[in-house]
Amino acid sequence: MRIVIAEDLALLRDGLARLLRDNGFEVVAEVGDADALVHAVLREQPELAIVDIRLPPSFRDEGLRAALELRRTAPATAILILSQYVEHSYASDLLAEAGGAGGVGYLLKDRVLDVADFVDAVRRVAQGGTALDPEVVAQLLGNRGASRLDVLSPREREVLGLMAEGRSNAGIAATLVLSLGAVEKHIANIFQKLRLPPSGSDHRRVLAVLAYLQEG
């Protein structure tokens, strides 16, 4: 699987490249700013670009803007945003730009510490899935969604959170130590209680859940 990394801090860039290579990915380009990222992606046509939000020259949200542009110009390349901080408005932009297509992720850099989990997220996004940071999901579940989620049982809320992160049924089952059948039953209950339309792919499911949470 071919990956481009855009990160301005050399220490982090090298570490990330090493981690990915050790886990069997092919890092085809490592760049330090947004322009170089766009060029590298258009040249290499990788399956995935891992992008830091803050990039030179102004160290604001160049990375995010370049990523949104890449969604239009190189839709075949999935985008995983890595950042020191998460804001759910950034995640909303990213998901809106992705539309129904999937292949987007937004994670805190901290998540790299849990290598197995991180590698799983990288793979999921590269294959057209979604990976949303638990903090983004917590922001959405915490305040706006809170009152409207009263109808759910605590277990169903946990499942909803993991679903919003973009995890597959198998992933949810493994995390919560449940059987696959139990997870499916919880999900069916959630969709029924929140009156959400049933949806096919994992990514569409994430969009439906997030749209529901953001309405509030």
Partner: protein, 538 residues
């Protein structure tokens, strides 16, 4: 080509709603008239007594009730939505009266009611009479027998004559329909222009351009009028040059306009008053000289008037200068205080950050290093224990990262510079444990220091509400009006916020350093409202 004739207003339900609005305006006008007369008479009589304050507040209340009532009527009948904006409230006994008089909403509502009175009473009655008259004419053939009517000796006494009125009545009705449309549009415009919250003021540069253009147009019209009468004079008598009497008032008015325009280009209002005063005197003097020139040309009598008027201007100038110095002195004093406050606040923040780094991330890194060191020692002999230590180290790193991120957000949240104050406050609301609503009404982005100060006011107020107030919900409103950014945080908690406490006092220093004001209303028993106003001016 298909030409679709527009449907005449009389065939539309909307027209009848507009007519109803006009008709209601007639009794409404009487009510407004009574309120104006009673209100301003009592205000005038009581102006020097303390009673003026409750009377003024009561009068404003009634003006507000009538305006809101009419706005509701306009919403259902005209389809114009206008939520009258909130009043500005003053503090203290006299301050409340002052706030009423300085409140643009109050004056705009009165202007609205005045216009409604004029339109309702004058045009409304005219329109309804036209409709009634037209109906009377159209139905003339039915009832002419029983009525004695006609013009002079020409009596309507046969069916033929009565039928003559039918087309005239129809024309009247058609005209009345169009008129109703026009009056409806006029009423809707009044509501939109005067009962909605005032739109953001145009930029000073743009206003100046508009004013300059107005001056040029004024000059052009005056010159054109003068040329016109001169041509008339040349074409007719050519005797006494009477157009000078047209030129004199035109020129004076134009000169007056020019002086006011010049005065408005200046900034300070006190100097503007002086400039206008000087301008009036100059214009008056020019007028007298002109009168003297075209009449007697004997003794230069305007001279004495000039001496009197000029000495008044000199006195005004002296007074203005001394108060300006007083004002400057007070300004310097308040700047010194607020600068000292800002420096102290900055110093306190730096110390807090240093302490957080020392107790938090630094300590964690030390523990992390120790864990890794021990793991290194045990690597060969006890790999299970080493793995445990490495796992602990990783958990420590995650914790340190989380602390550092919170610290960085406390110094300056990234979303604030990326997306502005609106998005940053929405994020705050999302993170708050209390249900929080946010309304944002901003045209553009305020300057960065203003955004930062407003953000920290909201952050601190929200944290206080969550920690101490026992509130069940919080509302944050962010708006920009008259070049000021206003942020207001209202909770429904128990109140009793300690204004001298560290957090609020720090906020006050921060806000005052930007020439803003912070008000805290938190009576025991609640609720608490914290409001900061920050000038966004350059």
């Amino acid at each position: 080509m298909i030409i679709t004739a527009p449907v005449h207003p009389l065939f539309r339900a909307r027209t009848y709603r507009e007519l109803l609005f006009l008709a209601i305006g007639i009794p409404f006008a009487a009510l407004v008239f009574a309120l104006f007369v009673a209100g301003w008479t009592s205000i005038g009589l009581l102006v020097v007594t303390p009673l003026i304050v409750p009377v003024l507040l009561g009068y404003r209340g009634l003006v507000g009730v009538l305006s809101r009532w009419d706005a509701a009527l306009a919403r259902s009948l005209l389809g114009v939505s206008a939520d009258p904006p909130a009043w500005s409230e003053g503090r203290g006994f006299w301050g409340r009266a002052k706030a009423v008089l300085g409140d643009s909403t109050f004056w705009r509502q009165q202007l609205y009611l005045l216009l409604r009175m004029v339109v309702g009473f004058g045009l409304g009655i005219g329109e309804l009479s036209l409709i009634g008259g037209s109906f009377a004419w159209i139905t003339q053939p039915i009832w002419y027998r029983w009525a004695e009517n006609g013009f002079g000796s020409w009596r309507v006494d046969t069916l033929g004559r009565a039928l003559l009125f039918v087309p005239a009545g129809l024309v009247g009705l058609v005209v009345a329909g169009w008129l109703a449309r026009g009056l409806g549009a006029l009423s809707a415009w009044q509501v939109r222009a005067l009962l909605r919250p005032r739109p953001a003021p145009a930029s000073p540069a743009r206003l100046r351009d508009v004013r300059r253009r107005a001056l040029r147009i004024h000059g052009g019209i005056s010159l054109g009028l003068f040329l016109l009468v001169t041509v008339i004079w040349a074409a007719t008598t050519r005797a006494y040059f009477w157009p000078e009497w047209v030129a004199l008032p035109l020129g004076l008015v134009f000169a007056w306009h020019g002086i006011v325009e010049l005065a408005l280009s200046r900034v300070a209002p006190a100097r503007r008053a002086l400039a206008i005063h000087g301008g009036v005197v100059a214009a008056l003097f020019l007028f007298l000289v002109a009168v003297w020139a075209v009449t007697s040309r004997g003794v230069f009598w305007p001279g004495w008037t000039l001496v009197g008027l000029a000495s008044a201007v000199v006195v005004h100038w002296l007074v203005e200068r001394s108060t300006r110095q007083g004002r400057l002195a007070r300004r310097v004093e308040s700047l010194e205080t607020s600068r000292r406050g800002a420096v102290e606040e900055q110093d306190a923040s730096l110390r807090r950050i240093e302490r957080d780094l020392h107790d938090g991330a630094q300590a964690r890194l030390v523990a992390l290093g120790m864990n890794l060191g021990m793991a290194e020692q045990k690597f060969r002999d006890d790999p299970v224990a080493a793995e445990q230590l490495v796992a602990e180290a990783r958990a420590g790193v995650a914790e340190a990262l989380r602390e550092l991120r919170d610290l960085a957000r406390g110094i300056h949240p990234p979303v604030l510079s990326d997306r502005g104050i609106g998005a940053a406050i929405e994020t705050l609301a999302d993170r708050s444990p209390l249900p929080t609503t946010v309304t944002v009404d901003l045209a553009g982005r305020p300057p960065a220091p203003v955004e930062t100060a407003a953000y920290f006011v909201a952050a601190e107020a929200l944290a206080n509400a969550a920690k101490h107030s026992g509130a069940s919900q919080v509302a944050i409103a962010l708006r920009e009006a008259d070049g000021r950014l206003e942020v207001e945080i209202a909770d429904d908690g128990a109140g009793g916020a300690d204004e001298s406490g560290g957090g609020l006092a720090g906020l006050r220093r921060r806000v005052e350093a930007l020439d803003g004001t912070l008000s805290v209303e938190s009576p025991a028993g609640g609720p608490t409202t914290i409001r900061a106003e920050l000038p966004c001016g350059s």
